[in-house]
């Protein structure tokens, strides 16, 4: 049996990678990839806590939550990438540093 803390450490590492990617990358698609990494890390935590919680056979809340998040991530990726493609058509760039028409 793998200890719970190992899963948490892996998820913490993936989340921090995703956080760095979402904050520091200039390309909008790379930012979206960072967000996907963070969602995956959160999912690992949910399933790990389900598995090590009280009565994993009776209470499937953790797994159900993870399935809902996977669906949500699919919706987020579809809309995010569509937005990026629309912005690219308009401005010929997806560098988030140059997309500043809303800044005062």
């Amino acid at each position: 049996m793998v200890p719970l803390s190992w899963y948490l450490m892996l998820a913490a590492f993936l989340f921090s990678c995703g956080l760095y990617g979402a904050l520091a990358r200039r390309n909008a698609i790379a930012m979206l990839m960072g967000i996907e990494l963070m969602l995956n890390a959160a999912n690992i935590n949910l399933v790990a806590f389900w598995r090590h919680g009280v009565g994993p056979m009776e209470d499937l809340t953790g797994q159900a939550f993870a399935v809902l998040i996977i669906g949500l991530a699919a919706a987020e990726a579809a809309v995010g990438l569509a937005l990026i493609i629309a912005v690219y058509r308009e401005r010929r760039t997806i560098d988030v540093d140059e997309l500043d028409i809303l800044s005062g």
């Binding site: 049996m1 793998v2 200890p3 719970l4 803390s5 190992w6 899963y7 948490l8 450490m9 892996l10 913490a12 590492f13 993936l14 989340f15 921090s16 990678c17 760095y20 990617g21 904050l23 520091a24 990358r25 200039r26 390309n27 698609i29 790379a30 979206l32 990839m33 960072g34 996907e36 990494l37 995956n40 690992i44 399933v47 598995r51 090590h52 919680g53 009565g55 994993p56 056979m57 499937l60 993870a66 399935v67 809902l68 996977i70 669906g71 991530a73 699919a74 919706a75 990726a77 579809a78 809309v79 990438l81 569509a82 493609i85 690219y88 010929r92 760039t93 997806i94 988030v96 540093d97």
Partner: protein
């Protein structure tokens, strides 16, 4: 197992040993996603990370989630990202720096966040061993029943959201 410097390390069981391999693969691939200069390499590393996370779900005895992970993330999202990269093509070959000017602060923040989470995960006394999970097919059936009873509203709202998101994505991305 006795390491030099007198550090005592418990010998991992076979399951733990395989988990360490999968976790290392996932972690290295996740790091490659944010470190790679070539955006397409990032996308390939992201696909590898998704596979690794599916493997972690197998270790957690959540087989349905592992299969969903491969279907949705590797099959759909990774493909979508690859297509978006090919359609936008800019900054793909690393002629300019892939990082913005706040990368120093971001890396420091992410590193400190990781250290904090790590300290929290190690310091908290988690329950040592989870209960046994048997009869996996019954588990998937129970999950399906939960979705049409307890979580039926969340399930339906998610379906509606997914439909709206996909219609919206087509609206946003179509050529006017």
């Amino acid at each position: 197992m006795q390491l030099p410097l007198g550090i005592e390390v418990p010998i991992p069981t076979f399951e733990q040993f395989v988990f360490i391999q999968v976790a290392l693969l996932t972690a290295v691939a996740g790091l490659a996603v944010v470190m790679s200069r070539n955006l397409f390499h990032s996308a390939l590393a992201l696909t590898l990370t998704f596979f690794g996370v599916a493997g972690v779900y197998v270790f957690l005895e959540a087989e349905f989630l592992a299969v969903s992970q491969v279907l949705v993330y590797v099959g759909a999202i990774a493909m979508l990202i690859a297509f978006a990269i090919m359609l936008t093509r800019s900054m793909m070959y690393g002629r300019t720096s892939p990082l913005n000017n706040q990368w120093g602060k971001s890396s420091l923040f992410a590193f400190l966040f990781f250290i904090g989470l790590l300290a929290f995960a190690r310091a908290t006394p988690w329950p040592a061993v989870g209960e046994e999970v048997v009869a996996d097919e019954a588990l998937i059936g129970a999950l399906g029943r939960e979705f049409v009873t307890t979580y039926v509203i969340a399930f339906e709202v998610l379906g509606l959201l997914l439909l709206l998101a996909l219609v919206g994505a087509v609206m946003l991305a179509r050529d006017r």
